[in-house]
């Protein structure tokens, strides 16, 4: 690789081949403010805030598209840079301060930090009035065109996912975000727009208020459950390295916030694995519809229901982890604990915005109760903790309540390939009746959008595929049209790298950061003795001692779901 040595503020810096001054600076921990730069997306050079001065003196350029030449002298903080950068920041963030009252980022807001650091008032200019009203993407996310800074990142990300729902419209100061009016294009609620918006103009539909209200209600039993991914990424909200496992600190924090019980969606993942692996074994044994697709990602399910209703019979009928565990608390656990299930409020902490959408489904209700009442994203959890001045990394480790017990299979659910691997560990048992000795399936791990493998289970050579991004799911569906027997089992996640790269994760979320978070998840699994979902004692109690006592209809209402064609905005 060709390296280039140059200087930033007289400090020697080495750029890798193809690396811009901004990228090299950020890699060296040198801060240059920027809004429209994201290392996985095209360089737009729109925001004009990553300014630097170069020779001849007085020449100011953007560093995002500046390729360093050997010996280049770059100044990030010259008086001229300061002056021009501040003016552009004031222009870019005109009226931004007004938005704070409507925003849930609060003390977790990085824009506010930046404004403070660069002495930007956010009040010097008043921006042009944008007539387009705010738009809600289902019950997952929403955008405010008036807050949009036209950086184009959400639009590019939406394209990268393979959707093309968001677009910029109008010109000049009236430029703003809008959505594609084509009836054949719809949002899948993945929320990648929200995790790529530098100013929260696109953001999750907040449930913070509802959760605080439930916590304050003495008549409620409020249960927390965290998704596999949140524990390996919440640290980023507090400046820790991606992949740092803060599960134990989270338990302490959640108890501090007033949650009555702290369970774990990893346990829900173990239920899902059980139900799904059993279904796979059944489909294989009884020549059912194959390939079978996973269905735990509501973004993927919405994609299938809107764009490809013809494949819905291929989706596993297993409910998703948060719905499985949420349903178990309001039935099995409530009975065990002797509490009125109507008093239970289940709050999920998820790396995801589409989990909010999923939590509202009527079809998932059990005896009229929603399995999950509210969903907070990892970012919202960050905001909530900071609002309550809880310094997460400094907390003493806590312990999950017993019913939160999970296996390593549940822990890796957040990573691309994790659902597949978990299911294979259990499917092996359900198909062969024997326990798998070596539980790792490294073929399905890693940051490739499409992974394929053939895995021998008993006499069967199981052909599997693991994909992330709707775009890649599209490719696999096209492949199946040509060759219906190309695969037996397919895992699909809407977001890059799986849930761990979800729309509700801390900002920034890049492929490099996602890869680090994934390492954190596998580390959890590696250290565990219990690595198969069907051996989880809590899940065994639920599946073997409770579920069989119910009628078939009641069992289905807790364990299974169904799918249907969706219209735009449905």
């Amino acid at each position: 690789m060709k390296k280039t040595v140059f200087f930033i503020d007289n400090r020697k810096v080495t750029a890798n081949e193809g690396e811009s001054v901004l990228r090299a600076a950020l890699r060296h921990g040198i801060e240059i403010p920027h809004f429209c730069y994201h290392e996985d997306l095209p360089i737009d050079a729109d925001c004009r805030t990553c300014l630097v001065e170069i020779q001849p003196k007085g020449k100011v350029v953007t560093s995002c598209d500046l390729m360093p030449k050997p010996g280049l002298m770059v100044y990030t903080n010259s008086p001229l840079v300061q002056k021009l950068r501040r003016e552009n920041l004031e222009l870019l963030l005109a009226d931004h301060k007004k938005l704070c009252t409507k925003c849930n980022r609060g003390l977790a807001c990085k824009t506010a930090d930046l404004m403070k650091k660069y002495k930007v008032s956010g009040e010097k200019f008043h921006r042009a009035e944008i007539k387009e009203p705010a738009h809600k993407m289902g019950t997952a996310a929403e955008f405010n065109p008036q807050a949009c800074i036209s950086c184009n990142k959400c639009v590019e990300m939406c394209h990268k996912i393979g959707i093309g729902f968001l677009e910029l419209t109008d010109k000049g100061a009236k430029s703003h975000l809008t959505y594609n009016k084509n009836p054949k294009v719809d949002c899948i609620y993945c929320g990648q727009c929200t995790v790529h918006c530098p100013v929260a103009a696109v953001h999750e539909q907040s449930h913070i208020e509802q959760v605080e209200k439930a916590l304050a209600d003495k008549g409620k039993i409020v249960i927390a459950q965290m998704a596999p991914s949140t524990r390996a990424s919440i640290g980023e909200e507090f400046g820790l390295k991606p992949g740092t496992n803060l599960e134990k600190q989270m338990v302490t924090a959640l108890r501090k916030l007033g949650f009555d019980k702290v369970f774990d969606a990893n346990m829900g993942a173990d239920i899902t694995t059980w139900v799904e692996a059993e279904e796979l074994a059944h489909r294989i044994k009884h020549k059912g519809v194959l390939p079978m697709f996973t269905s735990c990602c509501p973004g993927w399910v919405k994609f299938a229901e809107f764009y490809h209703p013809e494949i819905l019979k291929h989706l596993t009928t297993a409910r998703s982890p948060q719905i499985h565990s949420g349903g178990s608390y309001k039935t099995w656990w409530a009975k065990k604990a002797g509490v009125d299930p109507k008093k239970i409020v289940v709050v999920s902490f998820m790396p995801c915005t589409s989990k909010k959408y999923e939590s509202t489904f009527e079809k998932l209700k059990i005896d009229g109760m929603k399995p999950v009442d509210y969903v907070l994203t990892t970012r919202e959890l960050g905001s909530l903790l900071k609002k309550h001045h809880i310094d997460l990394p400094r907390l003493k480790p806590g312990k999950l309540d017993f019913e939160g017990t999970y296996s390593g299979a549940g822990a890796i659910y957040g990573a691309t390939g994790g659902v597949m691997e978990s299911a294979l560990r259990s499917a092996y048992f359900f198909i062969t009746g024997k326990e798998l000795k070596k539980v790792e399936f490294k073929q399905v791990r890693g940051m490739q959008g499409v992974k394929k493998a053939t895995i021998k289970i008993g006499k069967k050579n199981l052909k599997v595929a693991v994909v992330y991004l709707a775009k890649n799911a599209q490719k696999v569906i096209a492949e199946l049209k040509k060759n219906p027997k190309a695969y037996d089992y397919i895992e699909v996640m809407a977001c890059p790298g799986g849930c761990i790269g979800g729309g509700g994760q801390p900002i920034p979320s890049t492929e490099a950061i996602i890869a680090e978070r994934i390492k954190g998840l596998y580390k959890i699994d590696d250290k565990m003795n219990l690595r198969k979902a069907h051996l989880n004692p809590v899940v065994r109690d639920f599946m073997l001692n409770y579920i069989p006592t119910l009628s078939k209809k009641q069992q289905a209402a807790i364990l299974h779901t169904h799918y249907s064609r969706k219209k735009k905005f449905e």
Binding site: L80, N88, A94
Partner: protein, 334 residues
């Protein structure tokens, strides 16, 4: 003609869209670029204020423009050419242009017309490529330059209407070292004139009988982005940019002139980059909302646009504002 490039060089033909880039060099760059088929684009956007010579040329000498484009197509070994054509022009010139397209089609040359929604940014050479491709009309990051990767990723030669006209003149030996001047504003003889390239602005006004009998100043090379000169500066300056002179009476209120410019910039900014998108809007608001012109605040935005805008549109605002302040109002710009 055997060596057209040498002839173009010898005649000193430069781009007439305003940037004055040597034409032969541009052609050679596209010729050398890898990738096929190559594409020729005639830029007939003409979105600047006070410039209407491209319309004049297309109206009076359309066959010359086609001929210039045909020469470029032959030189590059392509049969594909596009007009990035101001939609208002097409309305008026449809019959003439369609007839010529048909005529050339029979000879195997494919000319396409892209009707551009009239705009200033639509004339920026990478923005017009986005327009033809059906995207949001905004400039592209360079490199790659259009000569390497232009329309649909193909090496693309983009020249102004007048440049192709000049090339056709060079090829048939009739090039007279003249350029087209658009005259507008408070003049007796508004319109387009073909005048010798080297003459001073004063001579140009004299030869067209356009010296006003009142106290005046001029804006040259575009009535939004062009330089503002007082009448004492006319003898020592030649035509620049896209070739226009607008005459203003000295009694014109600065506020009115600023509002004209800033309204134009505000309405024409594509919205891509912060300084131009927001700056143009606030420049207009600043003048509109204040009884006294807030020069300090205006200059702060102008300097930011000039030094940090993404493309030439935003960067160009410094020249008219500052030259007007210096040459007409005797105001300091720092």
């Amino acid at each position: 003609m055997k060596n057209l490039i040498a002839e173009i060089k010898k005649a000193g033909i430069v781009g007439r869209g305003g940037a004055e880039f040597p034409t032969a060099m541009k052609w050679e760059m596209v010729k050398k670029a890898k990738g096929k088929p190559k594409v020729v684009v005639c830029n007939a956007s003409e979105g600047e204020l006070g410039i209407f010579k491209d319309f004049h040329i297309l109206d009076k000498f359309p066959e010359k423009v086609f001929e210039g484009m045909r020469l470029a197509m032959d030189y590059l070994g392509t049969k594909e050419a596009y007009f990035n054509l101001n939609a208002n022009y097409y309305k008026k010139l449809k019959r003439k242009l369609d007839a010529l397209i048909l005529k050339w089609k029979k000879k195997g040359y494919r000319f396409h017309i892209y009707q551009e929604h009239p705009s200033y940014i639509g004339g920026e050479e990478t923005a017009l490529l986005e327009g033809i491709e059906g995207h949001r009309v905004q400039p592209r990051l360079k490199p790659p330059y259009p000569g390497e990767k232009g329309l649909f990723g193909q090496p693309t030669l983009i020249n102004n209407v007048e440049t192709f006209y000049d090339v056709a003149d060079v090829a048939d030996g009739t090039f007279e070292k003249k350029r087209f001047f658009s005259f507008s504003g408070h003049v007796k003889h508004a319109g387009v004139f073909h005048l010798p390239i080297g003459i001073s602005l004063f001579q140009a006004m004299q030869q067209t009988d356009n010296i006003p009998d009142f106290d005046y100043f001029v804006q040259v090379g575009g009535s939004a982005s062009g330089v503002v000169l007082n009448k004492g500066q006319l003898k020592t300056n030649k035509m620049t940019g896209a070739g226009s002179i607008e005459v203003y009476p000295v009694t014109l209120k600065p506020r009115d002139l600023l509002l004209k410019w800033f309204k134009f910039y505000r309405d024409e900014s594509c919205g891509k980059c912060t300084p131009c998108r927001e700056g143009t809007f606030h420049l207009y608001e600043l003048v509109k909302k204040h009884d006294r012109i807030p020069w300090g605040e205006i200059l702060a935005i102008v300097e930011t646009m000039e030094k940090t805008s993404f493309c030439g549109l935003g960067k160009s605002i410094g020249l008219p504002v500052k030259s007007y302040m210096q040459n007409i109002l005797n105001l300091k710009t720092k």
